[in-house]
Assembly symmetry: C2
Homo-oligomer: 287 residues x 2
C-alpha cells in the first residue's frame, strides 16, 4: 500500500479550489498542471479545449499519476469523453459530482447553474442535472473570473455584477429553484458574497467540494492505496488537515506545473489556497 | 503601382479598432490574424507572447503582406524587437505612435497610460513617453477588456470600475497630467464613457487612431503603392470611406483568420467594426 498520485488539471488557478478541497480530505501526492499560457478556456471552442486538455493529460500521465482530476468545468463540459478516451488512468470531471450534489439537496427538483460561456453553451450541467431529474437554467457569468483574479472578492462592483447576473438568472429560472450550482472553479472564492445576495431558501452547491468527495471515495475503495478507512486522514488531522498541516505532515506533497509565468501563478495561487505556494515549475507543451 | 497588402495581428478582436481606423484612411488589402485560441496576451509572460507573435508573423508573411501592423499593445510592448528581427517586411507597433501622439497634445509633459497588466509591467509606454520628454504613470485596468467583451460598453458597472481605476491612476499621476493614453486596443470602445468621467483639461489619445496615421504615411511615401497623394482615398471617399463603403468600393478588401471559434469572432467583430463581418477562416498554428 502507498499514497496515491493524483493529477489535477485546470486551465489556470481555478482548479486550486478543487485541489484544496481534496487535500483537506485526502492524503496523497498531488501533481497540478495549470495551462496558464492558453487560459481562459471558458471563451474557447470545444475542439480547441479538447486538444489542449489531451496535451495536459499526456503531460500528467508522464508524471506517473494513478488518477486524473479534470478540475476545470469548461474542460469537463467540452472534452471529458475525449480525455477519457485518450487517458490510461481513471478520469474524474467536475460536472457529474456537482450535478449529483445538487440533486441531493434540491427539494423542488429545480436548479440555477452559473458558469463560463463555454460551459453554458455545452449544456453539460443541464443534461447532467436532467439525468438526476432536475430542471435547470444555465447562466454565463463571464465577469466573475476576471473579478476574482483582480482580487475583488468582496467588493461593491462584484456585488453589483452578481446582483445583475443572479437577477437575470432568477428571472428565467424554473419555479421554486432552490439550488445554485457554482459550475466554475473560480466561483467558490465569492461564495460569501453570493450567499449574502441569495434568498435563504436557495442552497449553494460547490462543484469543487463535491468532486473532492467523489475522488476520496474512489481512492478509499482501492486497496492499492494506503488511504482507506479514514486512518491516515485521522493521522494527518492530528497534525492539522489544512493544506499547510498536510505539507508539514508529509501525508500530502504538492508539485505545480504551469505553461506561463511562474510568478503570476504563485501570486494567484496564494489567494486561492490561502498559503504560500512553492515548487512551481514552468513547462512548455509547444504551440 | 498597386494596392498595398497590410497584415494586421492581434491576440483577438481588439486589433479591429486599429483595422477600422486604417481602413477609414487607407485603401488596401487587409489580412487580419486574431490569435483567439490563445488570448488574452495581457496576462501572459514576455517569452510566451513573443513565441505566439512570431508564429502569427510567419502566418501573415505567407499571405504575401507588404507591411505588418502589430495591432496589439501587449505584443508590441513585450515582443516588438523579437518580431522585427523575425519579420521580412516592415513592422509597425502601436506603442510609439501612441506615445508620439500623446507628446503632440500634452502641454504639461505629463501623461496617464491605461493598459493591460502585461503592457504596464513592460513599461514600454513609460519609456517611449520619456523619449518624447513626457513623465508618465501607467495603470493596469484588467477588467476593461472583459467588460467590453461582455458588451457593457456604456454600463453603470463599467462606469464604476472606470472611476475606481482612473481615481487610483490620478492619485499617483505626475502633477498636471493632461493626457490619457488608451494603450489597449479594446479601450476605444469605452471612449465616450471615459470622456464623461475625465476632467475637460485631460485629452484622450487613442493608440489605434495614431497607429493608423503612421501606417498611412508610410504607405503614401512608397511609390510602389497606388495610395499616394490622397487620390485613391478621395475616390474611395466619393463612394464612402467607411468600412462598409470601402468594401463596396473594392478599394479595400478584408480577410480574417482566427485560431479559435469563427462564430464568436464574427459576433464580437460586429461590435468592434459596427458592421457584419464575413470571410472569417479558422487556422491552426498548432499547440
Amino acid at each position: 500500500v502507498r499514497l496515491p498520485r493524483i493529477g489535477v488539471f485546470d486551465s489556470g488557478v481555478g482548479g486550486l479550489t478543487v485541489l484544496k478541497a481534496m487535500a483537506e480530505q485526502l492524503p496523497a501526492h498531488y501533481i497540478y498542471f495549470g495551462d496558464t499560457a492558453r487560459l481562459p478556456y471558458g471563451t474557447k471552442s470545444a475542439d480547441t479545449v479538447a486538444r489542449y486538455a489531451i496535451g495536459a493529460t499526456r503531460f500528467l500521465e508522464a508524471q506517473n499519476i494513478d488518477l486524473l482530476v479534470i478540475a476545470c468545468n469548461t474542460a469537463t463540459a467540452l472534452a471529458l469523453p475525449a480525455i477519457k478516451a485518450a487517458a490510461h488512468v481513471p478520469v474524474v470531471g467536475v460536472v457529474e459530482p456537482g450535478a449529483a450534489a445538487a440533486a441531493h439537496v434540491s427539494k423542488n427538483r429545480a436548479a440555477i447553474v452559473i458558469a463560463t460561456d463555454a460551459t453554458v453553451s455545452s449544456h453539460a450541467y443541464r443534461d447532467a442535472l436532467q439525468q438526476h431529474g432536475l430542471e435547470a437554467v444555465e447562466k454565463a457569468c463571464p465577469l466573475f473570473v476576471p473579478l476574482v483574479e483582480e482580487g475583488w472578492i468582496d467588493h461593491p462592483v462584484t456585488e453589483q455584477v452578481a446582483k445583475i447576473y443572479l437577477g437575470e438568472a432568477t428571472a428565467v429560472a424554473p419555479d421554486g429553484a432552490d439550488v445554485l450550482v457554482l459550475a466554475c472553479t473560480h466561483y467558490p472564492l465569492i461564495y460569501p458574497l453570493l450567499r449574502r445576495i441569495l434568498p435563504d431558501r436557495v442552497q449553494i452547491v460547490d462543484s469543487a467540494e463535491s468532486t473532492a468527495r467523489v475522488v476520496k471515495k474512489m481512492i478509499s475503495e482501492d486497496p492499492v492505496f494506503s488511504t482507506r478507512s479514514g486512518e491516515p486522514e485521522v493521522a494527518a488531522g492530528q497534525q492539522g488537515t489544512t493544506l499547510d498541516g498536510g505539507l508539514k505532515a508529509a501525508h500530502r506533497t504538492f508539485r505545480f506545473y504551469v505553461t506561463d509565468s511562474v510568478d503570476k501563478f504563485k501570486r494567484l495561487a496564494t489567494r486561492f489556497l490561502g498559503r504560500q505556494v512553492d515548487k512551481v515549475e514552468h513547462v512548455d507543451l509547444g504551440g
